[in-house]
Amino acid sequence: MYRQTEIIKDASQPGIEGDMVINVGPQHPATHGVLHLVITLNGETIKKVEPHLGYIHRSIEKMCESLSYRQFIYVTSRMDYLSAHINNHACALCVEKGLQVEIPPRAQVIRILMDELTRIASHELWWGAMAMDLGAFTPFFHAFRERETINDIMEDTCGARLTMNYIVPGGVMADLHPDFQKKTKEFIQLYKRKIHEYDELVTGNIIFQNRMKGIGYLSPEDAVSYGCTGPTARGSGVSSDIRKLYPYEIYDKLEFDEVLESAGDSFARYMIRIGEMQQSIRIIEQLIDNIPEGDFQAKTKAVLKLPKGEYYSRVETARGELGVYIVSENGTTPYRIKFRSPGFSNLSVLDHIARGSKLGDLVAMMGTLDLVIPDIDR
């Protein structure tokens, strides 16, 4: 492995004394979680960024092969823990595809409401953490103040604040808390009161803009060829919202826009996520007064058995497309599970966009890719 700092003598390029290789992470405050980057530098210019994975590999895919179709959903909360609910949703959709169960309309609406709340919570945390990467500490507290409200709503209904474990195949685990509608409306009011602070503190700030604009340019063609999805791809003008392209649940009946920017730099990716939070608020506003009555869970057998075959489902998490692929051999446990996580593809583009820029900008680029390491490593 690499030493903390080492000089590589490059004989093929005369005139250059040598490149410096530095390790950022796995235990480094600037990388979120435990990402290990090996960066080759020339002075302060980045020549190469190599992400090294495996530090928190927990073999979730292999683990899922020994768990039943009800149990494995809860392990996936630990992949992308910031949008745990949406992970569970993707798995439940895949199992339901195999079981051919009809989801009650009430459960569908509850799922979407929770999905969008999770998306806002995830983007809030990203916003605070990214500003903190750039040296602004205050936004972090502003973001967490609003996120706390969402966590309270989650705790009331789901019973947990971060890893909700609320979705089961066939619907949701429990009915909504009686105060859910009231609290969610309060949150929307609070959010609308506070959103101007976000813009004044960070978005409109010229120092922030100077550090973001033109940094980490990703062209639309590269975004497609690297397999980027989610806000990273949409920042380059690539339409990739699964909710629009392959609608699941009742997303096709809802009115919302896919936020798109064409610039492809860090600031465009930033604006996408800010815009997405507002679109999520729009979705919640449409649904919050129209939750249909009825069952919150379809009747399913106690032991689930998927017919022999292959099943694939995809959802839009806060980071991009999450695909769940199940191969079933007509047993109670899956024969093979594969997760297509958005973070992995988005991380692979980091080397491409970081080459030639300064070391200080690397953190800004990583911030706008919104990496969650357990999602990448699984």
């Binding site: 494995f72 507290f141 019973g159 808390h177 604009k213 639309p220 690539v238 339409s239």
Partner: protein, 181 residues
């Protein structure tokens, strides 16, 4: 898929006034300072504690019935349902003269939950046919060693309702006791 719906980001160069940065720093500070006079979002933790919701999934509790007999029959359904394989137990048959201790003919001699493995999903509570295990509104406190996180039956059992009524009531919290289990 490339689309034409994308917006353009404003990228005019900075004006001379903007490049001083002073106004933007002051603007940011104004927002921060204005929060000095607003309602605080924080609570003073050790003195003030926030209450958990009724459905919060925290530390497991092994239940007793109203007469103080243990509900658990060591059927093992919770251990099977557990995705994290955190629960282990050993069953034994009730002897005559132990009717005041255990409700049914079978009981758990050993019942352990490894709190480091537990993911607090609540499947054990769902799986239990005897209403013997439920998740309370507290969480596992910190400990110095790994062994301290393996909760034995003594740690998990709810206090006796007749011998320690105060502690029992506190441990039960908002939980509704079913008559027949």
């Amino acid at each position: 898929m490339l689309t034409q719906r994308a917006k353009q980001v404003d990228r005019r160069p900075m004006t001379g006034l903007e490049s001083i940065y002073l106004w933007n720093i002051l603007k940011g500070m104004m927002i921060t300072l204005s929060h000095l006079f607003k309602k605080k979002a924080t609570i003073q933790y050790p003195e003030q504690k926030r209450t958990f919701s009724k459905v919060f999934r925290g530390l497991q509790v092994l239940n007793r019935d109203a007469e103080g007999r243990e509900n658990c029959t060591a059927c093992g359904l919770c251990a099977v349902a557990c995705p994290a394989e955190a629960i282990t137990m050993e069953a034994a048959e009730r002897l005559s003269g132990e009717e005041h201790l255990y409700r049914e003919e079978k009981y758990a001699v050993k019942y352990e939950i490894n709190m480091l493995r537990c993911i607090f999903c609540g499947f054990c509570e769902d799986a239990c046919p005897k209403d013997a295990i439920y998740l309370s509104q507290t969480f596992a406190p910190a400990n110095y060693g790994r062994k301290g996180f393996i909760y034995k039956k003594e740690d998990l059992l709810i206090p006796h309702p007749i011998e320690q009524p105060e502690a029992y009531k506190k441990a039960l919290g908002e939980k509704v006791v079913k008559a027949d289990g």
